[in-house]
């Protein structure tokens, strides 16, 4: 069975995509390029004990919760 030209192109493209999955992903940011990312000011949670407490202050007064990605500690109250 002969493939039409568009079909042949599609098969080649599919093969390229699938074969690409066999090769390891190359990090696009090399380890030696991560100086800025390693800086403490780039941490999502630089002071866990503090951010956790503040999350509490909000959570006990609000209906929403979760997905804050920070650690806890604290109290709300009446």
């Amino acid at each position: 069975m002969m493939l039409s030209k568009p079909q042949a192109i599609a098969v080649v493209l599919l093969a390229v995509v699938l074969l690409a999955g066999c090769s390891p992903i190359q990090p696009w940011v090399k380890p030696y390029e991560r100086e800025h990312l390693a800086d403490p000011i780039m941490s999502f949670d630089r002071n866990p004990i503090s951010s956790g407490y503040l999350d509490h202050v909000f959570e006990v007064r609000e209906g929403a919760r979760g997905a804050t990605g920070s650690v806890g500690g604290g109290c709300g109250c009446n």
Binding site: F44, V60, R61
Partner: protein, 386 residues
Amino acid sequence: MTPFQHQRVRWLIAIGFGLGAVGRADVLPEDRSDVLYHRYEGGGLTVQGPSVLLRKKFGDSFSASYQYYEDLISSASIDVLSQASAYKEKRTQHNVGLDYLRGSTLYSIGWINSNEPDYKSNTGFFNISQSMFGDLTTISFGYTQGWDKVGEVDHGIVVRSFSKDADRRNWAIGLSQVLTRNMLLGLNFEADESNGYLQNPYRGVRFIDPTVARGYSFGAAVSPNTRTGIAGSVQLKYYLPWHAAAEGNYRLYNDTWGITANTAKLGYTQTLFSDWTLEATARYYWQTAANFYSDLFPFQNSQNFMSRDRELAQFRSLTLGLGASYEFHPGWPRWVDKGSLNFSYNRMRINYQDFHNNLLMSVVPGDEPLYILDANVMQFFISFWY
């Protein structure tokens, strides 16, 4: 007296302590200790106390942590003054956790116990994080389960006949992604399920009552005994060339009680003179009301489920924060690498849109001014790395 929010507080502590922000999974958390003093003051409520967090590695594979937390509560809030009298109480909490690193996988387990006269809580959690793609990507999965015992205190005496259970489960997944050499992305998604006694035993609902002079009375509140919520958030952090960082964060929340909430936050961090770090944040939050919430019901027992908890009302809030840290390198003791002194202040305002200040008189019930909460939140803490 303890409001039902405490259930959620402990729950969130568990989730937070267990999972933390999605970070690298190929290294153990750094050895560090913090001693913190916190103080919240607003709306007739003062909560203050100390907290201590200790973390230490053991060998190349293990890291253990312990946190002590204490709340000293003095309350004369609008909720207390409406239906009871001012009170004071103390809550203590202990958290223990253990992390185990194997290759690029970090396993974490922990247990949390919280105690106060009318509320006992125990929580266990498990979390697993995996780094991949040359450590550009970290994914995590966590599960948390909690068992709470809700009690009641009347005039300083524990009511033995009142004891209710509340159980909670939480599933969380997270992703941290290096986008460029200057930008990080964080994604978090959580599903949360609660069963049992999910209301505050001290709070009632307000309903129109023409038989009394003020025109309204308070009656029993009834909340559903199940609640399921989902939350998703996205965080972006960008390094700026003048040794500063900018951050944006958005979260969407929705639950089966009818609450939909949005949280947007912006942050800016700036270093100065190599040993100072300054921080400014702005956070805006808005939510819809629970579908069984009302500030004033038309008559007693007018619905199957009724609540006047203002946490379930519709409102908007804005919080502005400032923080400063000073890093130092003490020569003694020799095993301490560095330390930091930190202070932060947050000013919060909540504008309730359907919760009226019933402490103020009005001719017609429900015509009182809308309630506004202003609060100051302060933290002072000292940290050591070793």
